[in-house]
């Protein structure tokens, strides 16, 4: 047993990390080996047989970042948050510890507390897993007689329960409404096409011409992105002659091949 009493993942029989990745988006959707950043951190500490109360933050931070990269977790917010926390801790550990004899607040204390707490959760989870396994060896009666054709048993329903349920439903819907994203994609391709068409006719157009007549906010954003992309590619130049002056879009000088 490692010095920190690391417990292995109860549900995973394989020891090799296996990662489920949603192919097209690159987002990690499921990690079978680690249930979170604290789990990964405990694993690293366990491998190195590190005393949890005295974590060499610099080394562990580097290993954590490496592991996050190796496991393809670069896009998992929970892991990134822990990574940045470790990097911050690493920096704090480098600060001078004040005059000798003075009290020193160990910046690692909070992390240690969380790790110990989480370790306990894992310990209980393992116990619960074994308990459920033992329980599953006992079958309840498989055949259950159909309920008798009697008047149904009295339901218990009261207004307090109902109102509590209303509150729960409202609480659940408020959130998504407030953060609702307008699902209307920007049409950057269309804007690019429109600008290129204009520039094919004339060497120079104005911003107002580029966004077109009666633009919506979506048109404005699409055009802006299209222009930036064209400028990046060097297909068009954006020129502003004075501060807050109108932006002029200029066609790149025709290439010899054209």
């Amino acid at each position: 047993m490692a010095a920190i009493g690391f417990v292995s993942d109860p549900s995973s029989d394989s020891s090799a990390p296996s990662i489920g990745v949603l192919a097209d988006s690159g987002f990690v959707v499921e990690l079978e080996s680690f249930t979170g950043p604290l789990d990964l951190l405990l694993h690293l500490l366990g491998e190195e047989r590190i005393d949890i109360a005295d974590i060499p933050i610099a080394r562990i931070a580097d290993q954590f970042l490496k592991a996050v990269h190796a496991l393809g977790l670069n896009q998992a917010a929970d892991y990134l948050e822990m990574a940045s926390r470790l990097v911050r801790l690493k920096a704090q550990m480098l600060l001078p510890r004040g005059a000798d004899g003075e009290e020193w607040d160990d910046p690692r204390a909070e992390l240690v507390r969380r790790l110990l707490e989480y370790q306990q959760i894992k310990e209980i989870a393992v116990w619960m897993h074994q308990q459920a396994d033992r329980r599953s060896m006992r079958f309840a009666r498989g055949y259950l007689p159909p309920p008798p054709d009697l008047p149904p048993p009295p339901l218990t329903l009261d207004l307090v329960d109902l109102l509590a349920a209303v509150e729960r439903v409202i609480a659940a819907i408020l959130h998504p409404v407030m953060h609702r994203v307008v699902a209307r994609p920007l049409n950057v391709e269309g804007a690019t096409l429109r600008i290129q068409t204009l520039l094919a006719d004339r060497a120079e157009i104005t911003w107002t011409e580029a966004i077109g007549p009666r633009p919506t906010i979506v048109d404005v954003l699409s055009t802006l992105l299209a222009l930036l992309e064209l400028a990046r590619r060097g297909t068009a130049f954006l020129i502003q002659t004075e501060a807050f002056g109108p932006v002029v879009i200029v066609r790149e000088s025709p290439r010899p091949a054209d």
Partner: protein, 194 residues
Amino acid sequence: MNPLAQLIEAALFAAPRPVTVEELQTLDPDVSLAEFRQAIEQLREHYDFDGHGVEMVEMAGGFQIVTRPAFAAAIERAQLNQKPPRLSAAMLETLATIAYRQPVGRAEIEEIRGVNAAGVLRTLQERGLIEVTGRGEALGRPLLYSTTPQFLELLGLPDLANLPRAEELSIALQAPKPIDDVDQDAAAFVEADS
């Protein structure tokens, strides 16, 4: 009881249907069918002579352990073989949504609660708490659900108008806005801004 009778007892208890002797033999292929039949008889006799509340019956070509008819009436009266009558959180939340938004279609309920509602709606219907009271105008003319008089009776309310904070809550319980509405807002925003 001998080990084979014990095994048979456990297997018949756990099985969801009558089990044939041939199926029972797969429990232990080294034991002959005759031995299985003998052990079944032994188990049956044990139940009878020892005065158990259950007995062995042969039905649909197989064996099954069932409660003795003498106790059926008492158990039915106590309704121990029914699921607990308490409404689950999902049922309560669905019922609450319908109570304040009725008549309301399944799609809107699912939109509000964020989960599939088919199973819960069926249960609530079986329980007599909701009923279909019409069809909506939307595509596919969806069924619309309302609460029943029995629902009011359970709450001890004379009518729906007596539901607490009816107006306030029916507004609060609206489904998240459909995309079209949001877009209109966006258009208004652009106009106001230009």
